[in-house]
Symmetry: C4
Subunit: 255 residues, 4 copies
């Protein structure tokens, strides 16, 4: 089979689309934020991404039906006329577990973005560090185009670091790096988090900044519920991981 | 060499074939069930699958002859006329140890199924969880086609979950997921098991439900013997795994 | 670069060649035996195999010159006329560390053998088990062609097992398994060993049986020296492995 | 995407170019030496190498802008006329983490060197061993062409070993080994180091020998500053590595 398979479910024409990605990661801040936004905007799925870079796994729903673990693309058409931006949202169960897969999947998503005439990408993520002031969650930014910094700073995103700030590992960073190769502007927005548990407070703070940047509205009353839903699923994944760690016996690994 | 090599030993014409897979996994329930069924039905081998996704290993028989570890395809022709189903059984020493190999092998088996005009797939597996009532082993189901649930439930298979039930890892799940991509209906049937030892009781309970679904007969008097046989072989594999874990010295790893 | 690169150093015409492989493995029995035989017979190198499946490493000689880790092919022309067999010997620093590499390298060696019209292959190896009678080292055999067993048994090689004997992991086994795919007869001869240290006693016992099978002569007075030489080199490799285990810091891993 | 992508930023014509590589490794001696030399000579970047063999990671600069982790090629044109050598310097954030990637990247750099008509390669590295006389740091050499030894020995580089000296793991060694395949002379120069911390003293000693070999001048007053700069960055990388070791939870692995 091909390394990465994109199943397009419908042909979509979007106006000035922006691509937004939120995948599992630190404190699941990015995943929660984009999953929630996708639901609240009643976005519509238009493509599935399956890949041998994801775990060899299917998910079982309450009624006993299954689907392959995947990433999914949703779109949202803004209701206004003219210059507004339609949105493409990338969400998913997993990031690739291998470096090669990370690069391949980021490259494929960037090429989809290019084909759909996307001019800007946002990746949403968590930023784990130790001395967090829990009352004031800061939103940090990183970008592949310096000229975007001012616009983001107006909304309170922090770009300047006193110190060399290391690196972004995984899909949130790679979309910026590979986006740069393809000439697509991209910004990563990170909500501070302790990182150990799913962090709806960080996701909400992040989203509140983000919707101002996008110029859209969003209600937050269902965010806690969404957080619990994601937490339950990822806890299941975690249990599988833990079992696999304890019990590497190949004969017991697979169902 | 090619990543996956299918050696067809004979050209087989089957009527309305159903594909049944049982590979090593939790409690070896699926492997024992399908290996046993294959033997009892005096099924005939028609293809070998060898692959670089399997361990680099040959098995030595009592007389000192060897064969590569592999997966094998058997067929069984139903004796009745008309509308019955012939059977294809997929059995083997190992599942692939890498995600990529899992996807590739599942994809190849699905394509063989497609070529042979298979309309339905069953994967048999174990379902490990903690609070098992050892006197009443339940048979759980999962499927890639909701319309099959009713038919399965008639035979006592449980599909509805109170809770999000996580996932199926490995070949039992992937055949359903990739089957869905190719439009082939597939059901996974799982016998509850503690999962630590080979579980002939779970396999027997599973098979008794399964033969009702298939509408065939099977005697169970040799199941314990088959369980011991598989246990002995997999115990050997386990010893090799354990040695490798303890002693990663490359110079001592290989024979 | 290509996955496996064969550098042929000269064009060799051999009569009725037999291929003999001895690579690092349990107790280094096979490596010591074939390295020693190669030296004693004053065999001539005719090909190098380099590959990305080997460790990314060069070896430094006493004078400061380097070479890539590799496998090497030597030939020996028998002095008699007529029906005797010329020999091809496969020796090397390492086996591939990945399953994929194991399969690819075995496949390439088998194809070289096929091209050179090899009709029989011997792989020499160690067989580690617990209750060894150190005074009587047994030589065990395994083969991909049942009809060879009698011939080997005449020379004291043991093929029959009371029990299922598990498996051969690595190149010694794969040459038999893949040889079977290409229709080349192959035998693995294994000297019993404790497996923890290089075992010249096992290698000598193995060689004494093997030269009778081949019908050639060999002196053994330099075997201890060869064992020490190999031990020193592999001990160096082992040190590198150990360092890597302790200190996975990427910044200190590479020279 | 391609496994290795070379982005040439400008078309460069060089006279008698020598290629010099210094990548992260033991005590970061080679990286520090070549990074420093590159800066001091005010060398100019002419190519980026990005690859799926590097970690899936972007680096964030003080102002919040990012770039993919990469290797980079710089050139320096010697000011004199006639027979002097221009220099190509290969520096970078990481070496490939996989054997396959190590081979592929070394092969690509050698092919670039071949295309640019490079006749000689130097790789600079650290040499970790226990009994170092900290007052007299020795510079060890290894080469793929015996005839270069005398020239190097004139400058105090030690080639002769009493003992089998094991091996060079990683890019410093592979450029020599693969260079040999392509017929390009190559020398590895190694400064003794304890290997646990970045070692500016070893780098300085190494560079002082190296600039005599090259016949160029270099001031060393900024070396300590460069060492601290590299140490800070690599410490960040180390923190990420450590976090990943402790916390393999896939959901928290990525930002």
């Amino acid at each position: 089979m091909e390394d990465v398979i994109i199943n397009f479910l419908k042909d979509v024409k979007l106006r000035n689309p922006i691509l937004i990605q939120g995948l599992p990661g630190v404190g699941n801040v990015g995943k929660l934020a984009v999953d929630y936004m996708k639901d609240e905007l009643k976005s519509i799925k238009f493509a599935d991404i399956i890949s041998k870079y994801f775990p060899p796994q299917v998910l079982i729903d309450h009624d006993g039906t299954i689907r392959l673990v995947n990433n999914e693309l949703y779109y949202y058409k803004h209701s206004g006329s003219g210059k507004g931006n339609d949105l493409i949202m990338v969400v998913g169960d997993y990031q690739s577990l291998t470096p090669e897969g990370q690069y391949e999947l980021a490259d494929r998503i960037i090429r989809i973005a290019k084909n759909m005439n996307v001019k800007r990408i946002y990746t949403l993520a968590g930023y784990a560090h130790n001395d967090i002031n829990k009352n004031i969650i800061k939103i940090w930014g990183a970008t592949n185009n310096k000229t975007l910094i001012k616009e983001m700073e107006k909304h309170g995103v922090i770009f300047k670091r006193d110190d060399y700030t290391g690196s972004l590992v995984g899909a949130s960073g790679l979309l910026l790096g590979i986006g740069l190769q393809y000439g697509i502007d991209a910004v990563c927005l990170m909500g501070e988090t302790s990182g150990y548990f799913i962090d709806p407070k960080s996701a909400e703070t992040l989203l509140k900044v983000f919707i101002k940047i996008l110029g859209i509205n969003l209600k937050f009353e269902n965010l806690q519920k969404k957080a619990k839903e994601i937490d339950k699923i990822t806890q299941k994944f975690q249990d599988i991981e833990d079992e696999n760690k304890e019990d590497k016996d190949i004969l017991n690994y697979f169902a």
